[in-house]
Structure formats: structure tokens, C-alpha cells
Subunit: 342 residues, 2 copies
């Protein structure tokens, strides 16, 4: 007899905006542990913008796969505690991460690679480190931020950098790394409160609320000499404004375009400026740069413990609130990393 | 008393398509030579797609400047013969290139850098080398082709490369370099005749006529496993098809988007695939890579003299036919490099 576990399942795909309907918490009996498996009681699970792309019958080719209906949702980074182990190297009580979130308990294959290695079952060092940091700045979000700055060769400082959605899970890390690295940072976000946080806590040189001022106008005001690096979390009008404002040989990290996830996508009409100004647009996913994980965790872990880096989270309790968490995050109503505490 | 020279001037900017009206051949008296100047009798001048962008009241920011009305058009690479010299190092009879085309005679400052160095007055080695090659494969076109392959790290061969507008001035050079380098090349062009030339003369593995078959369908047929490198001379639907067909970690050289020059530009609606597939889009201008000029001229010059590389040109005679040459080139009616013989 296996353990009985609650899990969140998708019942129907949202038509446009994600709402709190269309999901169901289902109780399932887990199979008994096989050799090389561990049973994990999940404690924290991650809510990422990319989830939206999987709540479709057909997910974008080459990206994540679609979540099947009436089935567990795989490939979501999660923290938990080992409660039973038949795998060498894993002991009851270990804090681990793995890729089977959005459920209470998970049977995890210890030796199967998940999410290009990022989601493979792994024991976490929780010395002076709250475990949920590994879902935020020390996990996929931190890796995405660090990898993005790496692919546009912006880890050395000394340039003018614009970060959009800079109060979001990835953006907030990017902005802080960029400030710590010695860049002159302009940040944008969607509320006055977020802008204040960026100026006062993160210490960016300039920040603006894109709901009050267009990115083009704000960049002309805050970075009249142009920008060298743009970290794009938004796409759409933001990306067009960046192409306009880029200095020659500028680089754009294409991290995601949340503005397109729920609407018909519009490409940047001024992409020709990339040719005119010798610009590079580098699309990337953190998961393609797992080789940077240790370097990132060492650096950001030190900054976090020393208080040089701020990390904020918006926490929802219980599986049944996961759809609400996702809805709120996609609508820009959460700050920092969005998490479910189980 | 200076020499009297005919020159082409813009009288009014074309509203949409370039037509043969709106230009005028004007006779002007040139100033007498000053020290460090030479008088050049032009023999060949270049007709490039980029000219279209300068036939506007406002040219794209950061790119070329607009041609002023009723004035000589500067910044056009041209071949000529020195007929009088007051500059050290230049002698009557030298074949040179410089940046003052579309006129019979030009007074050229020998020591002033033009076009990032590409158009600075320079003596050409015409041993076994027809001078007009320096306006085509050994000039800006060759540099653009070579630099584009360089910025997407495609000078080593062994990959699947798609070249659009592959019978055009730049595209034909790119396709041939790619074949010589050992890539598996798919090429596209706008007529059956051009497609035959690409298959039979250039030796690409596959080619298609985009007027008969959509790029998406053709790529699915000719490169079902996807493409690693796309050399974009077209933009629009071609670029979208490339983003769809790119393999993970693919690279796109953004050389120009002639499809947008005369119409309202449409950005690629599927740019998000750059993130999903870790793609890089590298905008570039040949003029930003003048450091590659000697390397390119040595390599391509050898291939041309050995007959390993084909070079075609469409030649119009006389300044008065320059507007017709430009109109025909933009409409895709010319093959290879478009030139004016003066």
C-alpha cells in the first residue's frame, strides 16, 4: 500500500487569462517505492511565469511540454524532505529538490536526470540557508538571471543596463547582480511601490513605472546616452523601446516575453535596428546553463547571507491556492518569487 | 578652374517604390585640388539595397544618413582612376576605391577616413583582378558576407545553413563561402532561373523559389531536421520561418531585411522561440568588421581567380541609368552585384 497524496491536476485549459477555475485537487495513492527511489514530502513548490505556456493543448515547439489534463503536472522545481529512501546517498530527513511539484508527496527516481539536470533529485545545503531560497535566487530564477547576464557578456560591470519586470522573480535578481557588478542600472516595474523598492532597497540608479510612463519616454529621461545591455523579461513595447535606445554593439538578453503569453504576440517592428547598430539578441533559458549553477549559488548565496542581496517572496498556502497564486503572478500582483507552501 | 563633372542628385524622395523619376543628372564644376587631395575619374559605382534607406527625409537612426536633396550623394563605394594627385602615395594612373560614387569625377581627401575605413581612398591591386570585383565579392559585399558568417561562428563548416536572397549581391557570396567551408546549404531566391543557378553553379544542396513555395514548407521539405545557421537578407516571413526551423542553439545573422524597406515593417511574431530554443540573433554591418577585410580579400580573391567561386554582375551604363538600376535591384530583377559603369 502506498501513501495517499493530494495533487493538483488541470481539468481544462484557460482560454485567455488564467483563473482559479479549471484545476482540481485530487487524492491519489502512490505506488510502493522501488529500488533507486525515494519518497519526498514536499514543503515548497514554485510558481513560474513559464507555467502559463504549459497550460495549453499545444505548448510552443522546443519549449516545455504541455501539462496533460487529469494527470500530475511534472517538471516543476520543488523542495521537500525525504521520508523514505531506497536510493543510495539519500537518507530520511534530507532536504532535497526535485521536479515533481504541486503535490504533497512524490515518488522520485534518484538517478533520472530532470530538466537538463536542474531538477534532478539533489540534497541541498541548508546551513544558514532557508530551503525555499533554492526555488528563488539559488535555483532556476538565480540561474536564469546569472545565465542571461553571462550570455550578453555583462558580468563585468561598467555599462548601462536596463532590466524590465525588475521586481519580478528573475528581474529582481538580475537588477541586484547588475548593481553589485558595478553597472549603472535602470529598472522598470508595474507599480509605484515596486519602483520605490528598486530605488531604495536594490539601489538602481533610475527606475520607472511602465504603467505611468512609456518605456521610450522613460529611457530618454533616465538614460539619454542610450543603453548597452537590456535584460528583457517582457517583450512587446518594451523590446521595441530597447531597440530604439540601444547603443552600437549593444546586447539584449531575451529571457521571456510575459506580455505575449496571454495575448497574440507582436514582433518588434524595429528589429532592423539590430542590423543598423550591430546589436545582438540572445535568447536563452537558464536550464541550458546548468554548468553555471555552482558558481551562481556560491556568489549569490554569499551575498544573501551577508545581506548584500535582498530577496522577497509572495507565499500562498496549500495546493488549493496554487491557481490563485498563478493568476495573481501573471497579473503582476505578486512581488518577488511566488511560492506555494505545502 | 576645376573639372566639370556630371553627378546624380536626388530631387524628391520616392513615396513607396523607387521609380526612375525623382533624380537628375547635374553638371557641376569641381573645386581645384588642395594638398592631400586627388582627382579621380570614376569608372564603376555600386548600387546597394541599403541605398533605399537613404532615399528618405529621415534615415533609420544609427544607420546611414539621409541623402540631401539637390546635392551630391556621399558614402557610395566607387572605383576610379587617379587623374591628378596632390597627395603623397597616390600617382596618376592608380586604380583606387573611395566613397564618392554616382558622379563622373570626384575630388577625394586622401587622409580622411570614410565609411569606418571601408571607403577611405585606397590603391587596389588589379593583378589578375578586374577592378569591379572590389565593389562586389572583394568589397563591401564580400566583407558583409564574411563578417556575417563570422559573427554567427559559421566559418568552420559542418552545419546546416540557410541563406535567403541567395542570388543577390551578398547572398550569392554567403552561399558560396558556406559551400566552400563545408556546410550543407539550403538557398532561397525569387525565380526558377536563380534557383537553377544556385543548384548547378553554386552547388548548394537544396534551393527553392519563395514565390512558388513558402519558406516554411520549403524548409520542412529540404531541411526536415532543422537548421543551425540562418543568414537573413530578407526579414518578414523568411525570418519567422527560420525561427520555427532553427535547431537548439541556432544562430541567425541579421544582415538586412529588404522585405521591409519599402513596406511597413512587421516584426517576427514568433521571436519568443529565440528564448525557447536558446537562439542568438546577431545584427551586424560589414563596415563594423573592417578588420576582416584583408583576410576576406585574400581568401575570396584566391577562390575567384581559381574559378572556385562564381561572381555575377548586372551592369547598367551611365549615370542616367542609375535610378533604373536601383529600381530593378529593389524589385529583384537583377542578378548578383548591381553596378553602374561610368
Amino acid at each position: 500500500m502506498g501513501v495517499v497524496s493530494a495533487q493538483l491536476q488541470v481539468i481544462s485549459y484557460p482560454q485567455s487569462k488564467v483563473r482559479s477555475t479549471g484545476f482540481e485537487v485530487v487524492e491519489v495513492e502512490l505506488p510502493a517505492l522501488q529500488p533507486e527511489q525515494v519518497l519526498v514530502r514536499n514543503t515548497w513548490t514554485s510558481v513560474d511565469p513559464g507555467l502559463r505556456l504549459r497550460l495549453r493543448k499545444t505548448a510552443p515547439a522546443g519549449y516545455f511540454t504541455s501539462f496533460p489534463l487529469h494527470a500530475p503536472m511534472d517538471g516543476i522545481l520543488t523542495i521537500g524532505e525525504v521520508v523514505e529512501s531506497r536510493a543510495k546517498g539519500f537518507t530520511v530527513g534530507d532536504t532535497v529538490w526535485h521536479a515533481q511539484g504541486w503535490r504533497q508527496y512524490a515518488v522520485v527516481d534518484a538517478s533520472v536526470e530532470q530538466m537538463n539536470g536542474l531538477g534532478t533529485l539533489k540534497i541541498l545545503d541548508t546551513t544558514n540557508t532557508p530551503p525555499q531560497w533554492y526555488l528563488g535566487p539559488l535555483g532556476g530564477m538565480g540561474l536564469t538571471a546569472y545565465a542571461g547576464l553571462s550570455v550578453v557578456r555583462a558580468l563585468d560591470g561598467g555599462e548601462r543596463v536596463w532590466v524590465s519586470a525588475a521586481a519580478g522573480a528573475v528581474g529582481a535578481i538580475v537588477a541586484q547582480i547588475a548593481v553589485e557588478m558595478g553597472h549603472r542600472v535602470v529598472a522598470s516595474a508595474g507599480s509605484a511601490q515596486k519602483v520605490s523598492w528598486l530605488l531604495d532597497e536594490v539601489g538602481v540608479e533610475g527606475a520607472f513605472n511602465y504603467r505611468e510612463e512609456s518605456p521610450r519616454a522613460a529611457l530618454a529621461r533616465l538614460a539619454p546616452e542610450g543603453i548597452d545591455v537590456y535584460f528583457d523579461n517582457v517583450g512587446g513595447e518594451h523590446l521595441e523601446a530597447a531597440l530604439d535606445a540601444m547603443r552600437p554593439f549593444g546586447r539584449i538578453a531575451l529571457c521571456g516575453s510575459v506580455s505575449d503569453y496571454e495575448l497574440a504576440a507582436v514582433g518588434p517592428r524595429n528589429l532592423f535596428l539590430a542590423t543598423a547598430k550591430n546589436l545582438t539578441l540572445a535568447g536563452f533559458r537558464g536550464g541550458a546553463h546548468v554548468h553555471l549553477l555552482d558558481e551562481m549559488q556560491n556568489l549569490l548565496g554569499t551575498w544573501l547571507r551577508e545581506g548584500r542581496m535582498t530577496y522577497r517572496e509572495t507565499v500562498y498556502s496549500g495546493l488549493e491556492n496554487a491557481p490563485i497564486a498563478m493568476r495573481d503572478m501573471l497579473a503582476g500582483r505578486t512581488i518577488g518569487k511566488t511560492l506555494i507552501r505545502l
